[in-house]
Point group: C2
Chain length 250, copies 2
């Protein structure tokens, strides 16, 4: 792991989160893990980390414990923290779990109804997607833009569910290290079009107060990512047999 993050970025006096070095350490270490800088199974040395980040062991330990709570690290007494391993099957399963959870979330929203400003946020995301897609094809960077729109839609719905447990569990699903390095989906325009259409239908079902239809649509919507993923992976494996599986996200 060596440098984790170059200490020059440390800006000694002012951590990113004021008044709490532990939290900023947490962000940096998480970043390092999700970015693949530390590698699964690797052990995190407290003194080394504290030297690298120019803080004492205390906030480092706090950060590591918090990250263990997020499920990113494992802890063993008298042996410290290690980066949790996420074998490919577990990563794939995480999509099924997220599908189930987001399904429950939209069901809740459809059951309880959507507040006016919650509704507006989601409608804005839908409109933004409509606008982006109306051109009929994608240019460079459009996919990244849609990624944000997609996030807004899902986050908006999740916020509307007003359930902390659900939010946190789904957040954990999102934090699964999607393979070793950072990578953007390879979705065609067609795929995004379909996914955006899903969004519209889900929203309609919610507004129409059809809880189970909304849940079913959302489940299928999220689970389909898994399908694309395994398809992409098995294809890629044929082409480049030995290559480490670099993976998509959505």
């Amino acid at each position: 792991m060596a440098s984790l993050i170059d200490p020059t970025t440390a800006e000694s006096g002012s951590g990113t989160r004021a008044g709490n070095r532990a939290l900023s350490v947490m962000d940096r270490v998480r970043e390092a893990i999700l970015g693949g800088a530390v590698g699964a199974g690797e052990r995190l040395n407290e003194v080394q980390l504290s030297k690298t980040l120019s803080v004492s062991r205390t906030p480092v330990r706090a950060a590591l414990q918090a990250l263990a709570g997020e499920g990113l690290l494992d802890y063993a007494p008298n042996r410290g923290f290690t980066v949790r391993e996420f074998p490919l099957p577990a990563i794939v399963d995480a999509y099924d779990i997220r599908a189930a959870l987001e399904g429950v979330a939209v069901r809740f929203v459809a059951e309880r109804g959507l507040g006016p400003q919650e509704k507006e946020i989601i409608e804005r995301a839908l409109a933004a997607g409509d606008k982006l897609l109306e051109r009929g094809s994608f240019e460079a960077g459009d996919l990244t833009i849609y990624r944000d729109i997609n996030g807004d839609f899902h986050d908006g719905l999740l916020a509307a569910a007003q359930n902390r447990m659900l939010s946190e569990m789904i957040r954990i699903c999102h934090h699964v290290p999607v393979s070793s390095s950072r990578n953007i989906v390879v979705f065609e325009y067609h795929d995004v079009r379909r996914r955006h259409d899903d969004h519209h239908r889900i929203f309609e079902a919610v507004v129409a107060r059809e809880p189970w239809r909304a849940e079913m649509l959302m489940r299928e919507h999220v689970a389909s990512i898994k399908t694309s993923l395994v398809g992409y992976l098995s294809e890629r494996r044929k082409d480049h047999p030995g290559e480490a599986s670099t993976v998509t996200l959505a």
Copy 2:
């Protein structure tokens, strides 16, 4: 909160978990929270806790942070830890969430198949239930026995799913403070009979490798607890309007 736990039980030298006071502190505090000894929203004072438990603040902080990771505590920078509030709607929702998660778990098992000794554990739980129920009625304590059998069945299936994320999320659902104090279900013999019958069907679906049927049955099985719960609560509210809602578990 006053005493949390009487310090006489502290047995200074040997914590319950050897070599790690933080873990034993964690257990005690969790126990205190789940047992209702500390009350929702209440703030946990680190120095007071450390004095009560005869340890320094360091392991106390570690324990609190870990419990925050479990979702039992809230943390605010420079303001410490408070017992998380679980309003009744959140408790009820937790059953829906657990239903969805356990549904996914059995689907996984049904998809992947059940190992021989996993199968035996579950069959043993089923047989134990059969034996307990064959008498045709319940005596005192039988319900508690069935509670364990029920736990074995669900735990066995969950273990067979071999998915850590699922296990931890379901564990969190179980750790929701079921109202303020500890309490046992008021299930009739008839209800337990039905629930045990559900178990048999779920097991059959798993063995027959029918993933979606298994999932559906499990979802309904767990969600029905919620239904009983709200029914029980609304009835009890009629009888004893002012009373604090003491709640069931399963």
